[in-house]
């Protein structure tokens, strides 16, 4: 019991400490939160795309559901406080509540989308999730209560760097435990050979749907976090481009590797930001060169996918994990 809870407590304490320590460095905290959100997205997408081998390319749609739902819950409860707690802590409690609401909404959408498409072969999921992302965008753009195309403003800026990285910790923990559990073994079996898995008694549809719902939940949480640290939530943040970014992260990191997804997400979030500031400096403060970075990013991602598939289809990490190294090293140190 203690072994199970201890890492969570340590992580929570660490996140609070970092949050307090990083307070003054606004830009760094913002960037770190952005990286954290992308890590959550990549690790959660890896559960369905990597471990289960079902290709979803509409992760941004679930992120959007979470962002809007959590944002609305937070706006509605903006004035409420838990009187027995200090204000800052009470805010965080409400934030966790709205994040869970956003995650649950996204998970429900995942169920609705996943149930019909996951009964079939993997490629249907790709198309349906792509379509779902678009439907969400169309609905949001046509709903005045959600701000339409202009976006939702007035979401309280409660999500700090600490909260984001606490959720990063949670999703990595869940992914790690899942991968090693009997449940996870079934997912791996489906990924390797669906027919063989079914022959071995794995209820493939049920396992696929469960993995998809879990993945959608964390996408919703990531969206909720995103909504609580950007000034305005608009449908433009949740397009194909966003989904694609996440897909590239997990494919480059190695489909099925949680640490691979993590590493690639950190790298691929910081790289364009770094390039942008580099080009702004090179261009002598002229932003046009930096805008080129945004323009050229998508085609490069596309080509990158093709090249990775042709040359190293397993990505950088393959299905290996960084923590495998530690286990192996321990085993070597203590010969039985």
């Amino acid at each position: 019991m203690i072994r199970g809870i201890a890492p969570v407590l340590i992580a929570a304490a660490l996140c609070v400490a970092l949050q307090l320590g990083l307070g003054p460095y606004q830009f760094f905290a913002y960037l770190a939160a952005l990286v954290g959100v992308n890590v959550i997205l990549a690790v959660s997408l890896n559960i369905i795309n990597g471990m289960t081998g079902q290709f979803s390319i509409g992760h941004a749609g679930f992120m959007a559901v979470g962002a809007y739902l959590a944002g609305i819950v937070s706006i509605a409860t903006k004035q409420d406080h838990l009187t027995f707690l200090p204000e800052a802590i009470s805010d965080q409690v409400f934030l966790v509540g709205s994040l869970c609401a956003g995650g649950t909404g996204a998970a429900l959408c995942g169920l609705i989308v996943g149930l019909p498409s996951l009964r079939l072969r993997g490629d249907y999921l790709a198309i349906v999730t792509l379509g779902f992302g678009e439907i969400i965008r169309v609905i949001v753009q046509n709903t005045q209560a959600l701000g339409g195309a202009l976006g939702l403003s007035g979401v309280p800026q409660r999500a700090g760097f600490g909260m984001v990285w606490f959720w990063v910790f949670v999703v990595v923990l869940v992914a790690r435990r899942l991968a090693a559990s009997p449940h996870g073994r079934s997912l791996w079996a489906i990924r390797e050979d669906e027919i063989a898995a079914e022959a071995m008694g794995v209820d493939t549809t049920s396992y696929k749907v469960r993995a998809f719902v879990l993945s959608s939940f964390f996408a919703g949480v990531a969206g909720g976090l995103f909504a609580h640290f950007v000034p305005i939530v608009n449908p433009g943040s949740f397009t194909f481009v966003k989904s694609m970014e996440i897909v590239v992260m997990i494919v480059a990191g190695g489909l099925g590797s949680t640490t691979g997804a993590f590493t690639a997400a950190v790298f691929l979030t910081l790289l364009p930001e770094g390039m942008r500031s580099l080009f702004t400096t090179l261009g002598g403060g002229d932003p046009s060169l930096a805008q080129k970075v945004d323009q050229i990013r998508m085609p490069i991602y596309g080509v990158l996918l093709v090249i990775i598939m042709l040359t190293r289809p397993k990505g950088i990490f393959g299905t290996h994990e960084a923590w495998d190294v530690i286990t192996r090293w321990r085993r070597k140190a203590k010969p039985a």
Partner: protein, 317 residues
């Protein structure tokens, strides 16, 4: 009454265009069991080739039959070549790998094309500037078929109008579909195609050049897509880099509705989708147009996942 009739005509006109694109999806799926995600974007490239050809011919030729023929032929040939290149260098090396790798490659090509075309790139050679990549802005497609009313029924307030381009696209699409049906069921190449679709290993053992048949299928599908893209651009009078992705997705939905891998099914599915979209747009609001296809797709997958004309097939191990 006339309103209903008008929607019916517009829906059919849109449906025939989707049908031409859907045929490409369904044929490639038939022989390779691959959803060629990049199909819509190949179509978009074809439209841009047509656009460039039209301006190379010069404005004074717009509206003449010869110019239209040249534009269509150049664009279809260019697309066939492009489809061949993609198949040869991106899909063929992965044919024996797990299917997910080809799917990811297809998605990669699709994104590289649709977002690559959104960049602005022009080079200056010998004092003249040549546009290499057109940029994200939507461009007006030249009126290579001058729109005239082919038929008008009823009085001024409530009337049914059939435009000449609607008739032309309907005729072109019908001719191509009948031609395709002939090709698949009456020719040697068609028989080889059906054999590869049935089982490509056995087909190879029997001396059918599988690589060539698959390449031919890609070329055929891409050429049909180019034709469909041009018809769409004439209808819409505009061309932009993301058009391929949207039309491609809808055409894919049409192919699934009809039962993917089934040629007549794709046509019926596309007509159904075109009509459905037109009625939703006509009686509610045009902003819901893009949501219709995917709602339709989810419903079909729930109720009849093998499509209207598809048969349930046990997967061979």
């Amino acid at each position: 009454m006339y309103g209903l009739l008008q929607h019916l005509i517009n829906g059919l006109a849109a449906g025939t265009i989707y049908a031409l694109v859907a045929l490409g999806y369904t044929m490639v799926y038939g022989v390779l069991k691959l959803i060629n995600f990049a199909h819509g974007d190949v179509m978009m490239v074809g439209v841009y080739v047509g656009y460039a050809t039209a301006f190379m011919l010069g404005r004074e030729h717009f509206g003449s039959f010869g110019a239209v023929l040249v534009i269509f032929l150049v664009s279809m040939l260019a697309c066939a070549a492009f489809g061949l290149i993609i198949e040869r260098f991106a899909y063929r090396p992965l044919r024996e790998k797990p299917r997910l790798t080809s799917l990811i490659t297809a998605i990669g090509i699709s994104f590289a094309l649709s977002y690559g075309f959104q960049m602005d790139l022009a080079i200056t050679l010998g004092g003249k500037s040549y546009t290499i990549l057109p940029g994200a802005a939507s461009r007006a497609f030249p009126e290579i078929i001058v729109p005239t009313q082919w038929l008008e029924l009823g009085s001024d307030d409530s009337s049914v109008i059939i435009w000449n381009w609607q008739v032309i696209s309907f005729v072109i699409a019908a001719v191509l579909m009948v031609g395709l049906q002939f090709l698949v069921f009456k020719t040697k190449f068609g028989r080889a195609m059906r054999a590869v679709s049935f089982d490509h290993r056995v087909a190879a053992l029997l001396g059918i050049p599988v690589d060539r048949v698959i390449a031919g299928t890609f070329m055929l599908g891409s050429a049909l897509a180019a034709c469909a893209g041009l018809l769409y651009a004439i209808k819409d009078t505009s061309v932009q880099p993301l058009m391929g992705m949207y039309i491609g997705l809808k055409a894919f939905v049409a192919a699934v509705i009809g039962g993917i891998g089934n040629v007549p099914g794709a046509v019926v599915g596309a007509l159904a989708l075109g009509l459905c979209e037109e009625f939703v747009v006509g009686y509610t609001s045009s902003s819901w147009r893009d949501a219709v296809a995917f709602g339709f797709l989810i419903l079909v997958l729930l109720a009849r996942p093998e499509g209207l004309f598809g048969r349930v097939q046990a997967e061979k191990v």
